[in-house]
């Protein structure tokens, strides 16, 4: 199980698998090297690192539990997973594009959609943070690329520990309008999303109302959300500064 990221990337994996004790031991190595140079810092660095280790491990564990239950059909857990993930994504993205606050919230939503649409690519035996980080980073790089700003030259050399270390809870609006976005979808995608996702009807009820088969409803929701994500992305790439 090898994961993307810089040197410390495997640590998160180990931390995730073996719990705090092990992660602390590993985290402390750089501290010892560091405190040899600056002995006075030992105490505070120790606390800070130990604390960070605990928080990261907790976030990883908590989010993973929620996601796993969500994927087993627990709707509340899945909602809680997305809600708990959002401040991490917001913190991560705002930190990297501080000059584009609105873009950051657009990207938060794009990343949430991407996480949802790609949830089948997550495997429980992998650190969740590595998976989420790869998705958020992909969306961020795509943003840089499509904007062709000079940031595109700066590959963010962050590692995925960062993602669960920062949070930003201040809610915000993205500029796109769900109604307008939905209006662009064909009926066989739009109607399943409206009935299942917005009105909360069951797949069977939706099938009855729309005359589609149950599997067509499921496929419609799935493809519709992918199309929605692609549309948001295309709008962002085409008209970066136009209001949506």
């Amino acid at each position: 199980m090898e994961h993307n990221g810089s040197n410390s990337a495997p640590l998160a994996g180990i931390a995730a698998h073996h719990g705090l004790g092990y992660s602390e031991t590993l985290d402390l190595k750089p501290v010892h090297a560091y405190t040899a140079l600056a002995p006075g810092l030992r105490e505070s660095s120790f606390r800070r690192l130990a604390f960070t280790g605990l928080t990261l491990h907790d976030a990883e564990h908590r989010l993973k539990t929620l996601l796993t239950s969500g994927l087993e059909g627990d709707q509340g857990a899945y909602r809680a997973f997305l809600q708990a993930l959002t401040p991490h994504l917001r913190g991560y993205l705002r930190k990297r594009i501080p000059q584009h606050r609105d873009d950051a919230e657009d990207l938060v939503q794009e990343t949430l959609l991407a996480v949802h649409n790609a949830r089948h690519t997550y495997r429980v035996d992998e650190p969740l943070t590595a998976w989420v980080h790869a998705i958020a980073r992909y969306k961020l790089m795509d943003f840089f690329r499509s904007r062709a700003r000079h940031e595109s030259l700066n590959d963010p050399l962050d590692d995925h520990d960062d993602l669960f270390a920062v949070t930003d809870d201040e809610p915000a609006h993205a500029r796109h309008d769900l109604g307008k976005l939905l209006a662009h979808l064909p009926d066989k995608q739009r109607l399943p999303i409206v009935h299942v996702k917005l009105e909360g009807l069951s797949v069977a009820q939706t099938a009855k109302i729309t005359g589609l088969s149950e599997s067509a409803v499921k496929v419609g929701v799935h493809r519709g959300l992918k199309a929605l994500s692609a549309r948001i992305r295309d709008i962002r790439s085409r008209e970066p500064d136009e209001n949506r």
């Binding site: 709707q75 909602r79 993205a174």
Partner: protein, 213 residues
């Protein structure tokens, strides 16, 4: 749109997954792609006439094993590249090993041959066309493989495109083996390798466009 509203939208309904969907899609893609390449091979080049007898020789199966092993490695690579946060890692040696084995076999054959025979062994009868034939036969597999990968979430689109191109060309090479008259590892080690790497290059070029999500 408020982010909370989006979360509500995403969380409403059942987040459960159809787990075998991805393997099923890959199985379909590989089957359709390979069938397409074989049909294209039959239509454009035709099978070699002595196929029935040559299929009983070990060297023929060694030839088929080369692209087959590359395809296996590329398939592992593509499946890993399609999952965010997962490295290709051990897929690289699996992809590289068949090339190295064939290069070693090719150089052994050349070492045994008299100096004057070496160049003809490498060039065979079809070196001018072989890589392009393989590239043409890759068209159906290329489309199928890219369609399958779009069900995943690759984050390095160029590398994913390259390995996807390699998967499609190695499958096409299996189909091409049914036509190709060349039976020397010295030939395969150069021209089959180029034939497989050309579509990989095209895949790397088109990956960022075709695989973006």
């Amino acid at each position: 749109m408020k982010t909370d509203d989006l979360i509500e939208l995403l969380a409403t309904g059942d987040a459960r997954l159809d787990r075998p969907a991805v393997p099923r899609r890959f199985a379909q893609a590989l089957t359709f792609g390979l069938t397409g390449s074989v049909i294209l091979m039959l239509a454009v080049y035709g099978p070699r006439r002595d196929l029935a007898s040559i299929a009983q020789t070990a060297i023929f199966w060694a030839k088929v094993a080369f692209p087959l092993c590359v395809a296996a490695g590329a398939l592992i690579g593509v499946m890993r590249l399609g999952r965010p946060g997962v490295r290709v890692a051990h897929a690289w040696p699996v992809i590289g090993a068949p090339f190295i084995v064939v290069w070693i076999a090719g150089s052994l054959v050349l070492g045994d041959a008299a100096p004057a025979e070496r160049l003809p062994l490498v060039l065979g009868q079809s070196w001018r066309t072989c890589p392009f034939n393989i590239t043409l036969l890759s068209v159906p597999t290329f489309a199928a493989v890219f369609w399958a990968i779009r069900s995943l979430a690759p984050t390095d689109l160029r590398v994913a495109g390259a390995v996807a191109g390699l998967l499609s060309s190695s499958l096409a090479t299996i189909a091409y083996c049914l036509h190709c008259p060349e039976m020397s590892p010295a030939f395969w080690s150069v021209w089959y390798a180029i034939g497989m790497l050309l579509p990989a290059g095209i895949g790397a070029w088109l990956g960022p466009r075709l695989l973006r999500w």
